[in-house]
């Protein structure tokens, strides 16, 4: 198989996830896009491992580790999102601007700030 096929597919999937991370408003959709990016990297790792015929199979081992770390990440991320939702009543990432500089933390002027 031509190596360019999995490499190009991984690059396109990564950029799809990049768009999702930047453009989505709901925090859980942002987490889904992060999962897409991680999967693109995993596909790259597996393809290059199979191409190089590594004796240690470092690519496949690292893919398994990435999958486990992604599972931990999604658990912690969802716990944080749920906690933010319980405290704030929203899970939109562009309304959580308390640590931004130069903006009032009040809730009523967020619409014109983000518009």
């Amino acid at each position: 198989m031509h190596l360019a096929y999995p490499a190009v597919l991984a690059a396109l999937l990564f950029c799809t996830g990049l768009y999702g991370v930047l453009a989505r408003r709901n925090a859980i959709l942002v987490l889904m896009s992060v999962e897409l990016m991680l999967n693109a990297v995993n596909l790259n790792l597996v393809a290059f491992d199979v191409w190089l015929r590594d004796a240690l199979h470092a690519g496949q081992a690292l893919t398994l580790f990435t999958i486990a770390i992604a599972a931990a990440e999604i658990g912690i991320g969802l716990a944080i999102v749920l906690m933010v939702y319980r405290n704030r009543g929203t899970s939109d990432v562009d309304r959580l601007r308390d640590t931004a500089e130069g903006h009032e933390p009040a809730a009523n002027n967020q619409s014109e700030v983000t518009a």
Partner: protein, 195 residues
């Protein structure tokens, strides 16, 4: 294997773009389906549909792993991602009371900037990758490289220490998730009310 030997092997076998093998055709078709599902995932305005299209994208990636002869990782992908991560995401959507129908504010205001960044990144990455690996072929024949036997041997011979460290990480993530999502006790609700 040295890159020179790989290049020589590719030059001798030398299949071209105009005579794709069956595996390549299957890979491209599944890849198109995966990419389409991923695009729908990041653009749809129905939040639950985004999670369901994510199942299609992740399942397509599992099929790509199978085509790359990495069987064990393909089944791990099916178990972990399709089995648990998507279910977790659906639970998260339900617990944050995500709207079932179309939500017009699913995309934030900077989506055009995001689209520009993604298109520029995709163009540059695809150009670099195609330019670098134009004459490189993966040899999928020979001994299988990703079966459960091979993966188990390398994982428990050469990667034992990272494996154990990863189990500690998973335990820490478990405890952290429990601590984060636990409701506060009624005892410290009083001083929370004073804040």
């Amino acid at each position: 294997m040295s890159p020179a030997a790989t290049l020589a092997a590719a030059a001798t076998t030398g299949p071209g773009f105009l005579s794709p093998t069956g595996v390549e055709i299957a890979f491209v078709l599944v890849g198109l389906a995966t990419l389409g599902a991923a695009l729908v995932t990041v653009t749809t305005k129905q939040l639950v549909h985004a999670a369901l299209w994510l199942v299609v994208a992740l399942g397509g990636i599992a099929v790509e792993y199978l085509l790359l002869t990495a069987e064990f990782i393909a089944w791990v992908q099916v178990l972990i991602y399709l089995g648990s991560v998507v279910v977790l995401l659906l639970f998260g959507l339900m617990l944050t009371k995500a709207p079932i129908g179309r939500s017009p504010d699913a995309d934030s205001g900077n989506r055009w900037i995001a689209l520009g960044v993604a298109v520029v990144a995709a163009a540059s990455l695809v150009w670099v990758v195609v330019d670098a690996f134009r004459t490189t072929w993966i040899d999928l024949d020979g001994p299988v490289q990703g079966s459960t036997k091979v993966s188990g041997e390398i994982l428990f011979q050469h990667w034992v220490l990272p494996f154990e460290a990863l189990s500690v990480l998973l335990l820490a993530a478990l405890i952290g998730a429990i601590v984060l999502s636990r409701r506060n006790d009624p005892a410290d609700a009083s001083d929370k009310g004073q804040r």
